[in-house]
Symmetry: C2
Subunit: 345 residues, 2 copies
Amino acid sequence: VSLHGEIMEQPSVARRLLERGREPIAAMARALRERPIDYLVIAARGSSDHAAIYAQYLFGVRHRLPVALAAPSIRSLYGVEPRFERALVIGISQSGASPDVVGIVQAARGQGAPTIAVTNDASSPLAEAAEFVLEVQAGAERSIAATKTYTAQLLGLALLSAALLDDPQDERAIDALPDALATALDVDAAARQVALRQATMTRCIVLGRGFEYATAREWALKLKELTAVVADPYSAADFQHGPIALVEPGFPVLAVVPSGAAAEDLLALLARLRAEQGADVLAISDLPDTLGLGEALLPSPAGVPEWLQPIVTIVPAQLHAYHLTLARGRDPEAPRNLSKVTLTR
Amino acid sequence: VSLHGEIMEQPSVARRLLERGREPIAAMARALRERPIDYLVIAARGSSDHAAIYAQYLFGVRHRLPVALAAPSIRSLYGVEPRFERALVIGISQSGASPDVVGIVQAARGQGAPTIAVTNDASSPLAEAAEFVLEVQAGAERSIAATKTYTAQLLGLALLSAALLDDPQDERAIDALPDALATALDVDAAARQVALRQATMTRCIVLGRGFEYATAREWALKLKELTAVVADPYSAADFQHGPIALVEPGFPVLAVVPSGAAAEDLLALLARLRAEQGADVLAISDLPDTLGLGEALLPSPAGVPEWLQPIVTIVPAQLHAYHLTLARGRDPEAPRNLSKVTLTR
């Protein structure tokens, strides 16, 4: 199994999680409703941290819950155990092995806070530490760069949100995701063409906003770990508070522009970056080509509600990063200096 | 007044804040002790967001309080008002004008949560929106790149933490900061020499850990807005979950390595990056030169406790960014595409 194979597996991984995960997640939601929860704390590293950013918008927008992304080093470096009074504490880790993430969940459970492990390994230390386990059922992931486990983490979190709200319309939207993921894969050839043109790129900005800030972060990480392009991700708002100064004529700006609340501002910013600063824009979007980007638009499937879009918009980004890896003469199975499981304190 | 002048002003700005700020901040702390607070929510953009990251460690390590960095677009884009039950909500903004930050504080105050405006303008919309105002008293900041207002924000937050804990040892450590800031400025000529050697740099990684993650973020932002170097900041832990793949022989790695709990891991990582991946390391540190960096070590003042170090370690970083701006033939007073006050929704 190769990285490309694991990217292609994502529709069937989603189908499996929908089949096997709904029951246990519904049971978890019933149990959580009995607990006093004022806010969420999420501990995660790497791609899983981008699933945490998705959760920040998911539970913020749909449940009005503030979400704190834990700084695990407060415990691991400084030996201080935060107070988790009235918090729901979630650890997200593909392997479930990272000691810093496990440590936060252990501490929270010791204080009696409800805890969830979102992991691909139901017998991992993280799964053992948590009161509840949300197993993402993605099957073994062999490539070092996370792809199918990332979309499975997002889908697992979306299922939890839907189970907590219990709205049949949400369930129907989620049921349509495996087909949308299959459609998203159709961009493979177009992503390869774009990558061939970008083979000499050394740096770029990646923009997203709202729900799609998570996708911008994850796209940038794929580019860094696989292609060694220095890809700096920003929310469109933070970008205007300083880093916009980077963009000179020809500077590559990658953007995730879904339809929905975030579209208007981001489209206006991209148009300005092109017209006034000469940015070289590549976008992933389900919108018709309002920017006139032509081949520099990688389409994502239409009809996916905004809160679920990050589950499908990352697919063109994964394919883009994969093809750029090849175009730059690198091995997608062997990114430099990395191993599959990183054990940070 | 120039950017360099404002950097040099920082000892006197700190002295003024200590003189004028202690009383009102002590009164604020007394009032806050009467309120039920389980966690913090902080809204900020740009450099102020890095003050928020400092606060995440400050209140996490010293007060055991989880800190959520607000995603203001949950309110501004999606029209959803988070519930701020049992939260202390802090907005940080130099100008106090950014509508998205003001919006979060307004919403929280409307719900009856305690709110603080950390701002340089006590008559700004942010100051008006908040129940409490922590005026950082930095004087008018004319340069577009924030320097003295950033260190003043950090010092203001440190004063609040000290007032809440009421430990005379803390007060003594804070009293020593203006002199430490003056010592930090001595690095000016050395920073210029380093900058001259790095004039052709186009990209780099900036590493910090724990309290100094804030400094890594702020250093990277100064480089981006002033020098147009793509500077990608990471905590040393997150860096090992992917981006470490970027480092090839000669790749510039900038690091903030204070003495204290974070030092050991970060020094080991830097030694490995140099020996195995050929990284070109530049460090800011108060440690003796254990890495044998020679002129690529910018010293920060010794004797500052770890929780206060970010207030002084940013100074060599500011000077480095300033001199690199000149070395690259750019105007430090006129970064491209930026204005002093950025009004994001």
